[in-house]
C-alpha cells in the first residue's frame, strides 16, 4: 500500500515537472529586433547605438514575480564613443506604453532580473500570468540623450514547482532519507548498531548518583533554542534519560526554560520519564517552569537558582550563546559537577574551560541515540556517519578535480566541481 502511494507521488511529481517545463517553453518570448529611437533634443553628446538582442523571459527556478532580461551591450559602451552611462529598464503592460522606469543597470551590465514584490498594493507589484513588455534605454551623460531598444514581449512571470538548480541537493536528500530508512529498519529488526562511548554521557548516571547522595537537586537547562531546533530536540532525549534516573533515585530535578514551547515539551518529557520509572506520583509539575524569554534576564534567574539551591549537578544541553560562560562559571562557584553539550561552535571553548565534561557539536546528537538506544535514533546516527563518509569522499574527489582541472585537465572535471556549488 505504501509503495503504491509512493509511485503515485513519483508519477505526479514527474507530470508536474513536465507541465512546468512545457509551460515555461511557451512563455519564452521571441527575440525581437531592436529599434533605436533617438531623442534628438538638446544633443551635447553623440547618441549611442542601442542595445541589441534584448530577451525577456520568466526568471527560472523562482516562486514567481520575476522576469529575467538580457541584452547585447551597446557598441558605444566599451568601444565606439564610450558615451554609455547605464541602461534604464522600462516596463509596460501594453506594447505602446505608458512605460514605468524599473531600475538602471550600470554600463557593462548585460543582465537584469526584475523581481517584484509578492503582495498587491506594495510598490512595484506586478501579478504573475500577466502580459508584460520591456525595453532598455541607453543612457548618456546628457539626460536628453537616451536611445531605446525595441520592445520585447509579451512575457509572463510564474512560479516553478521544482528548482532545477537544487537537483543535486534533492538527490542527496533522497539518498540520505533512503539510508535513514534502511538503517532504522535494520535496527528495528534487532540488529545491534554500535555507538562509541561518550565520556560526557557516561558521567550522567554518576552525576545523578552524586546528587542523590548529597541530597541536592539536579539543574537541567535545554538551552536558548526553540523547540524545533535540532540541539533542543536532542536535549529533550537526554532530559528524558536524566529525569528517569532522577525518578528512580528519588532525587529532585529543576528545569528552568526560556521558551514557553520548550517548557511544554520538557514538562511532557519529564512526566513521561517519571511514568517510565514507575513513579508517576513523584512528578512535580513545578519542577519544569518558564523563567523569561529575555536572554540575560534568564541568565540572572538561573544564576540565582544555582547559588541558592546549590544543585549537585548542572547539565547544559542544547543551544547556548553568550551566556554559556556565565552559567558554567557560576556553576563552578557553586561547586556543582557540570556536563555540557552544544553545537554552537563559539560557545564550546567556554564549556571546555569551565565544565567537567563537554559534548562537542554532533556528539550531542549522538548522545541522545546512545542513551535512548531507540532504533530511529540509532538508524539515523548510522545514516549520518555514511553521509559524513560521502562528504569526505566528495571533498577529496572535488579537491583533486579542482587542481587537475586548473592544470589543464579534461572539461568534465570542472563540470563535476560545478555540481556541488550552492545556488539559489
Amino acid at each position: 500500500m505504501q509503495q503504491k502511494h509512493f509511485w503515485r507521488f513519483v508519477i505526479g511529481l514527474a507530470l508536474m515537472t513536465m507541465a512546468t517545463a512545457l509551460g515555461q517553453s511557451e512563455a519564452d518570448p521571441p527575440v525581437s529586433d531592436t529599434l533605436a529611437v533617438a531623442d534628438t533634443a538638446a544633443i551635447s553628446v553623440p547618441a549611442p547605438l542601442p542595445v541589441t538582442n534584448l530577451i525577456a523571459r520568466d526568471k527560472p527556478n523562482d516562486r514567481g514575480y520575476g522576469i529575467s532580461l538580457s541584452w547585447d551591450l551597446s557598441p558605444d559602451d566599451t568601444g565606439g564613443t564610450q558615451s554609455v552611462l547605464g541602461y534604464r529598464i522600462m516596463r509596460s503592460t501594453t506594447p505602446d506604453g505608458p512605460w514605468d522606469s524599473i531600475n538602471v543597470a550600470g554600463s557593462g551590465d548585460a543582465l537584469y532580473d526584475h523581481i517584484g514584490p509578492r503582495h498587491e498594493g506594495d510598490s512595484g507589484y506586478f501579478p504573475d500570468h500577466t502580459d508584460m513588455y520591456y525595453r532598455v534605454d541607453v543612457l548618456t551623460a546628457d539626460p536628453g540623450v537616451a536611445v531605446s531598444s525595441g520592445v520585447v514581449g509579451p512575457v509572463q512571470s510564474r512560479g516553478q514547482w521544482f528548482n532545477t538548480a537544487r537537483t543535486v541537493v534533492f538527490l542527496f536528500m533522497i539518498a540520505f532519507c533512503g539510508l535513514v530508512i534502511w538503517f532504522v529498519t535494520h535496527a528495528r529488526r534487532g540488529k545491534d548498531l554500535y555507538v562509541r562511548p561518550l565520556a560526557g554521557i557516561e558521567a550522567v548516571d554518576e552525576a545523578v548518583g552524586r546528587a542523590t547522595e548529597m541530597g541536592k537537586p539536579i539543574l537541567y537547562l535545554c538551552g536558548l533554542g526553540d523547540a524545533a531546533e535540532v540541539p533542543t530536540i536532542a536535549s529533550f532525549t537526554i532530559l528524558g534519560r536524566v529525569a528517569k534516573r532522577v525518578a528512580e533515585y528519588q532525587t529532585q530535578i529543576i528545569v528552568p526554560c526560556r521558551d514557553p514551547i520548550v517548557m511544554t515539551v520538557a514538562q511532557e518529557v519529564v512526566k513521561t520519564a517519571y511514568s517510565d520509572a514507575g513513579r508517576p506520583d513523584s512528578y512535580n509539575p513545578d519542577s519544569v517552569f518558564f523563567l523569561t524569554i529575555e536572554q540575560f534576564a534568564y541568565v540572572a534567574g538561573v544564576n540565582g537558582i544555582m547559588l541558592r539551591d546549590k544543585p549537585a549537578t548542572n547539565v547544559y544541553m542544547g543551544k547556548f550563546y553568550a551566556e554559556s560562560l556565565i552559567f558554567a562559571e557560576t556553576g563552578t562557584m557553586a561547586g556543582s559537577i557540570q556536563i555540557a553539550g552544544t553545537d554552537e561552535i563559539p560557545q564550546i571553548p567556554f564549556f571546555f574551560v569551565a565544565c567537567d565534561y563537554t559534548l562537542i557539536g554532533e556528539e550531542l546528537y549522538a548522545a541522545s541515540a546512545y542513551l535512548s538506544r531507540e532504533p530511529v535514533l540509532l538508524g539515523s546516527l548510522k545514516a549520518q556517519d555514511y553521509a559524513k563518509a560521502a562528504i569526505i569522499v566528495f571533498a577529496i574527489l572535488g579537491f583533486l578535480a579542482t587542481n587537475v582541472s586548473a592544470l589543464g585537465g579534461p572539461e568534465w572535471l570542472a563540470g563535476f566541481v560545478d555540481l556541488f556549488q550552492v545556488r539559489e
Binding site: 523569561t292 529575555e294 561552535i345 566541481v417 556549488q421 550552492v422
Partner: protein, 269 residues
C-alpha cells in the same frame, strides 16, 4: 527580614536618593531630575549586578528579580502588540481592526490565518488539566514543520557548502614550477601561505569529520586521523576563545564608559 539586610537595604536607598539629587542638580535640559533618575537607576542596577562578583546578596537578588519580572512582562506585551495584533487582526476581522484602530485590508483576508489562531489556543489549553493533552498537537506541528523546512537548509549549508568549500586550488595562479618557486615568499598572502592554508583546510575537514564518526571504534589509522581531527578542533576552539574574550571585554568597556561618563561624568564625552 534580617536586621543586617534591612540596614543594608536602607543604606542603598539613601545612597540612591543622594546620587539622584546630586545628579539632578547638575543636569540640564527639559526635565533634569527625571533624566537623572533614569541614569542613576541604571547605574545602581549595573552596580547591583556587578556585586554578584563578590557574592550572592540581597541587592543582586533585587536586580535579578526585577530584571526577570520586567523582561517576562515586557516580552509578553511586545509579542501581543507587535506580532499577534498587527499580523492577525487586519486579516480576520474588520470589527476588531476598527476597535484596535488598525487598517483593515480586504485583500489581506485569508482563512489560513485561522490555523495559527487554533494552534495558539491549543497551546494555551496547557493550562487546563483535562484538555492539556491537546497542546501536543500544536507542539508536534511546530516541531515537525520547522524540522522539515530546516532539512533543506541544512542539506545545502552543512552538506553541499561543506563539500564545495574544500574544493580549493593548491596554488592560486599556477603557471609553472619555476614561476612558483620564483614567487615563493613567507608573506601571509603569498603562494606558500595559500598552499599551506588550503592543505590544512582539506586535511582539517577530513580528520574533523572522522572524529565525529560514532558507529566505528577509533583505533588504528582511523584513530590516528580522529586524534588529528580533535587536535585541529581544539586549536580552532582556542582561537575562537581568545577572539570571543576580546568581544566580552568590549562589553565591559561599554558598561564602564556608561558609569564613568554618563553617570559620574569623570571622563569626557
Amino acid at each position: 527580614m534580617r536586621r543586617s539586610t534591612l540596614i543594608g537595604g536602607s543604606l542603598v536607598v539613601v545612597f540612591f536618593l543622594a546620587a539622584w539629587l546630586i545628579k539632578g542638580a547638575g543636569a540640564s535640559g527639559e526635565s533634569p531630575y527625571y533624566s537623572a533618575f533614569l541614569i542613576t537607576l541604571a547605574a545602581f542596577l549595573t552596580l547591583a549586578v556587578f556585586s554578584f562578583l563578590y557574592a550572592d546578596n540581597p541587592v543582586y537578588k533585587f536586580a535579578e528579580h526585577l530584571f526577570v519580572g520586567v523582561s517576562a512582562a515586557y516580552w509578553m506585551v511586545l509579542g501581543f502588540w507587535q506580532t499577534l495584533v498587527p499580523n492577525l487582526i487586519p486579516r480576520i476581522s474588520r470589527a476588531l481592526s476598527e476597535q484596535l484602530e488598525l487598517e483593515y485590508i480586504d485583500e489581506l483576508w485569508n482563512v489560513l490565518y485561522v490555523i495559527p489562531v487554533v494552534l495558539g489556543i491549543l497551546l494555551l489549553l496547557r493550562l487546563s488539566r483535562k484538555l492539556g493533552w491537546l497542546s501536543r498537537y500544536a507542539v508536534a506541528f511546530i516541531v515537525g514543520t520547522t524540522a522539515g523546512l530546516n532539512f533543506i537548509a541544512y542539506t545545502r549549508s552543512n552538506f553541499m557548502a561543506q563539500i564545495s568549500s574544500t574544493f580549493l586550488p593548491l596554488v592560486g595562479d599556477w603557471t609553472s614550477w619555476a614561476a612558483f618557486v620564483d614567487n615563493l615568499s613567507l608573506s601571509a598572502t603569498g603562494p606558500l601561505a595559500l598552499l599551506m592554508a588550503n592543505i590544512v583546510v582539506v586535511l582539517g575537514v577530513v580528520c574533523g569529520l572522522i572524529y565525529f564518526f560514532f558507529s566505528r571504534e577509533h583505533s588504528g589509522t582511523f584513530g590516528m586521523a580522529s586524534r588529528l581531527g580533535i587536535w585541529i578542533l581544539m586549536i580552532t576552539f582556542g582561537a575562537s576563545f581568545g577572539y570571543t574574550v576580546m568581544g566580552r571585554i568590549s562589553l565591559l568597556v561599554g558598561r564602564m564608559t556608561f558609569l564613568l561618563r554618563d553617570w559620574l561624568g569623570i571622563i569626557a564625552s
